[in-house]
Structures are given as structure tokens and as C-alpha cells.
């Protein structure tokens, strides 16, 4: 058998395989559409293209089988050449549209894998539209930008979106820039700040609203406003230690030690427990008041001997005040509670050296 004959046999086999495999193709295409629709919802992006593309694809997919059956009929029923060409043209156009849809899904999928910073943008809900095209159902938000009036975004609705977002209400778009530079919409959530302020207008003494505002501004590191609302809260509700505890912690994390100490002192007056004592001791230690810090941290260790944090901080405070043996005891207790702790193991070695150098202290 010469090469030409072999090639002819191969091509003939390939043509037959493609011809008989077309049924597989016909079944694969709807699966591709299902996958693409899942991806476009899961990794939805900010923009209008997708919302515009979905109804087109839904209509094509619904008519896809009809097109395929007609195309099959072309082979068995004698039709005019012109009609056969039209049917094949429609089939190719359908496949091209679905291919473009799948390509769009691939782009959105690649984009969605990005792990950059998350940003929030304020917006307001203009409408929520429910679309129903036969078996295809989906919904989208129409959102007006609060930063750039006139800008309108359409975003596919997702079950992850805040159930409390409503038409006419203010929302926050949680976004992340994707790998192909499209903004992926992670969540549409209620604008909590405006919600709490509205609640306060309706109920000026609302404990939830006051506490929520303190937490919200503390999380945003807008401490002046957080402190202002905290003062209002404690004036109305003198017994509110949890809010003060989280505010104090946020102040210390942001290196506003004196403010942190002031808040923790208030918290301690409300509730003398491990967390308050530890919080105050920790804040005092960072504010440079080591001896006072040691008093509170010691008290904390008597309330909860199983939490390593007070012992850990106490070790540093006692080291700074030159009480090496007590520092050694505190860090030894940390190691009993958390056996693998390289920093404390190293600290213990250093403090042992100092003990041996300084004699009896």
C-alpha cells in the first residue's frame, strides 16, 4: 500500500469519525453552555456585556436542538439547496455564538482567580430585574454609582448578595481586580454605615446602631468618630463592655496606646474579667507603663491560668522591669501551654543567662 492510499484511508476514517461523532458534539454544546453560565455567575464581573449576552445565548440554546434536528433532516429529506444553506448557516451561527459565550466565560474564569486587594464602592440600587426565558432564569441588579453620578452598572444577582439590599437602598459593591483587569464582583451588600445612621434617625437611642457605628468606624480606623460614638453609647448605656473591648483593641493595634488605655480602663470599670485585664495590661505595656501593666497582667493570669497570652506579655513586662526570675516563670508557663514556641524558648535562654549574670534576682 503506497502513502497516498494510506492517507486516503486515514482521511476517510477521520471523516466518518467526525460524521458519527456529531451526536457527541450536539450533547457537548449544552454542557459547555451550562458550564459557561455557572462560571459567569460564580465569577461575575462589573459591566453590562454579560447581562446583554445572557438572553441571546439563552434564546440560542433553547432553539439549538431545533436547528440541529432541521440540519439532520437536510440529509434525509430533499430540500432546495438554498434552504439547506440557510439551515447550515443558522447552525454555524449558533455554534459561533455559543463558542463566543464559552470564550467569554473562559476570560471571566481566568479573571476570577486573581487574589488582589478587596475594595468597596458605594452605590445605590436602581432596580432588580428578574428574567425568565423558558427554562433559563436569572436576575440582575441595576446600580447607580454614588461616586460618579450618572454611571450605571449591571451586575448579575447571586445568592451570596446581602438579602437586606433592596431597591432604592444604599449598597456597597465588594470588588476585586482580576487577572485580566476586570472588576470581579464578590458581593453586593447593604451599606452598613447608612443603614445604622438611618436606624439612629428612627430610634436615636438604639443600642445596636450606636454599638454598630463604634465597631464600623473602628474597623475603618476612623478613630475620632469611633470615640465620639463610643462616648454617646456609654452615656446612654453605661454597661457595654464588649464594644469598648473591641475599640480598645483596635486603638492599640493602630498604636494609639494612650487612647487604648483610656478605653480599657472604662471597660474594666464595667467588667473585671480576663479579657479586660489582659487588654488593659497589654495596652499599658505598649504605652510604657510596665509596672502598672504587670499588676493587671498578673491579675489576669489568676483568673485564667490556661490562656497563654497574659503570661506571654507578663514575661516581657517583667523582663523590662528587671524581674528576671518572675519573667522566667511566666514564659515557662507559656511553654507548658504552647509547647512549640521558638520565640519564648529563645527568651527563656536569654533570661537564664541574665539570671546567672545578675545572681539572685
Amino acid at each position: 500500500m503506497n502513502v497516498t492510499a494510506m492517507l486516503r484511508t486515514f482521511m476517510c476514517g477521520l471523516t466518518r469519525a467526525v460524521w458519527h461523532g456529531r451526536w457527541g458534539w450536539y450533547h457537548t454544546v449544552p454542557l459547555v453552555v451550562l458550564w459557561a453560565t455557572y462560571v459567569l455567575h460564580r465569577y461575575r464581573v462589573l459591566g453590562n456585556v454579560l447581562v446583554a449576552a445572557l438572553p441571546v445565548v439563552a434564546a440560542i440554546v433553547m432553539g439549538f436542538w431545533l436547528v440541529l434536528v432541521t440540519d439532520e433532516l437536510v440529509h434525509v429529506v430533499r430540500l432546495t439547496d438554498r434552504l439547506a444553506r440557510v439551515v447550515r448557516g443558522v447552525k454555524r451561527a449558533s455554534l459561533a455564538a455559543i463558542g463566543a459565550y464559552a470564550a467569554l466565560a473562559c476570560v471571566v474564569w481566568a479573571n476570577g482567580d486573581g487574589e488582589g486587594p478587596v475594595v468597596r464602592r458605594p452605590a445605590h440600587v436602581l432596580s432588580r430585574t428578574n428574567a425568565r426565558l423558558g427554562s433559563a432564569r436569572y436576575a440582575w441588579w441595576t446600580l447607580g454609582s454614588s461616586e460618579r453620578p450618572g454611571d450605571v452598572h449591571r451586575v448579575l444577582w447571586s445568592s451570596k448578595d446581602d438579602a437586606d439590599a433592596y431597591v432604592g437602598g444604599d449598597v456597597e459593591l465588594v470588588l476585586r481586580r482580576g487577572r485580566v483587569w476586570l472588576w470581579r464582583v464578590l458581593e453586593v451588600r447593604r451599606d452598613h454605615e447608612r443603614y445604622l445612621l438611618t436606624m439612629l434617625e428612627a430610634a436615636p437611642a438604639s443600642r445596636t446602631a450606636l454599638a454598630g457605628l463604634v465597631r464600623l468606624y473602628a474597623a475603618r480606623q476612623d478613630f475620632d468618630r469611633a470615640m465620639q460614638w463610643y462616648t454617646t453609647l456609654t452615656r446612654a448605656y453605661p454597661d457595654e463592655p464588649d464594644v469598648g473591648y473591641s475599640l480598645g483593641g483596635a486603638l492599640v493595634e493602630s498604636r494609639r496606646y494612650r487612647d487604648g488605655v483610656a478605653v480599657f480602663r472604662q471597660v474594666l470599670a464595667m467588667r473585671r474579667d480576663y479579657e479586660s485585664l489582659y487588654g488593659l495590661g497589654y495596652a499599658l505595656a505598649w504605652a510604657g507603663e510596665k509596672r502598672e501593666a504587670a499588676t493587671y497582667l498578673r491579675e489576669a493570669t489568676t483568673l485564667d491560668g490556661e490562656d497563654y497570652r497574659a503570661f506571654y506579655s507578663l514575661g516581657y513586662v517583667l523582663l523590662a522591669t528587671g524581674e528576671y526570675r518572675d519573667a522566667h516563670a511566666a514564659w515557662s508557663r507559656v511553654l507548658e501551654l504552647v509547647p512549640v514556641f521558638p520565640e519564648v524558648q529563645q527568651n527563656l535562654r536569654q533570661v537564664e543567662k541574665r539570671i546567672s549574670l545578675s545572681g539572685t534576682r
Binding site: R176, E187, T208, R255, V340, P342
Partner: protein
């Protein structure tokens, strides 16, 4: 649900009575169970709150907020391992939210899992590069991880 208003106003005892009534009438209402749990926790009744949330979890998957509440309740009752499980579930629901990661790093440190805490803090900084707590913790965790 009428109990939502007193709860939002901080009138927890009143809200709890109403939620208890709703749950008594519709014991399979997951939302009512979660609200009741939240109100119980606001009254420092954490073990009861856990019971309600576990009952809600038997009905269907819990929401992000409910899972976070469960993690908080376990943390308050010093059940660190279950708290870690709860916050890991919350992290799975919203991988871009820093709050479960922040709670996780704290719990990992409590268990001496410094490497896991380090990874959690690194993720926080990817999501929110200016996060002060994460910035502060990173050098500390670098000193203690992976040894």
C-alpha cells in the same frame, strides 16, 4: 418577624421571648433559630446559642453570619477546636472576608499553630494590605513559624 425590631434596639429579653415563640410554632424555621441563637449570645448564654445554631445546621447549610456566630460562641466557651472548624467554614463561604481569617489566626496561635496563623495573616494582607493588626502580627509570626 416582629422580634427583629426589639433585637435591633437592644431589647434582647423581649426579642428572645418573641423568637422562642416563633421557634415553638415553627421548629424547623432555620432563620428563627439563628436569630434566637444570636439573641441568646447577646445575653451571654453561649451554650444555648450553640445548641440553637447546631439545630439550625441540621435543617440546612448555615449562612456566613450564622457560622461566624457559631465560631464566636465556641470561642467564648473556650472550645477552640470547634471554633476553628466554624471559622474555617466561614472562610470557605467568603474567602475574601478578613474577619474569619483574623479570628482564625488568633485561635491558631492559641493552639501553637504558628505556621497556620502566619498563612492566615498573609492572606489578610493580600486582601487588605493596610490592615494594622496583620501588619503588627506578621513579624511576630515570622519569628515563630515553621520550626
Amino acid at each position: 418577624m416582629y422580634a427583629y425590631s426589639p433585637e435591633q434596639l437592644g431589647r434582647n429579653e423581649e426579642a428572645l421571648r418573641l423568637y422562642a415563640d416563633v421557634v415553638r410554632r415553627w421548629p424547623r424555621d432555620q432563620e428563627a433559630l439563628c436569630f434566637e441563637a444570636k439573641t441568646l449570645m447577646a445575653l451571654d448564654r453561649y451554650p444555648e446559642g450553640i445548641d440553637r445554631l447546631l439545630a439550625a445546621a441540621e435543617i440546612g447549610p448555615l449562612s456566613f453570619h450564622a457560622v461566624m456566630d457559631l465560631g464566636r460562641a465556641y470561642t467564648k466557651t473556650k472550645d477552640v477546636d470547634n471554633a476553628i472548624d466554624a471559622y474555617e467554614a466561614a472562610r470557605h463561604l467568603k474567602p475574601y472576608d478578613t474577619e474569619p481569617l483574623d479570628r482564625l489566626q488568633y485561635l491558631y496561635r492559641m493552639r501553637g499553630r504558628h505556621q497556620d496563623a502566619y498563612e492566615a495573616v498573609r492572606t489578610i494582607l493580600r486582601v487588605d494590605p493596610k490592615n494594622p493588626r496583620a501588619q503588627r502580627l506578621l513579624p511576630y509570626l515570622e519569628r515563630n513559624r515553621g520550626r
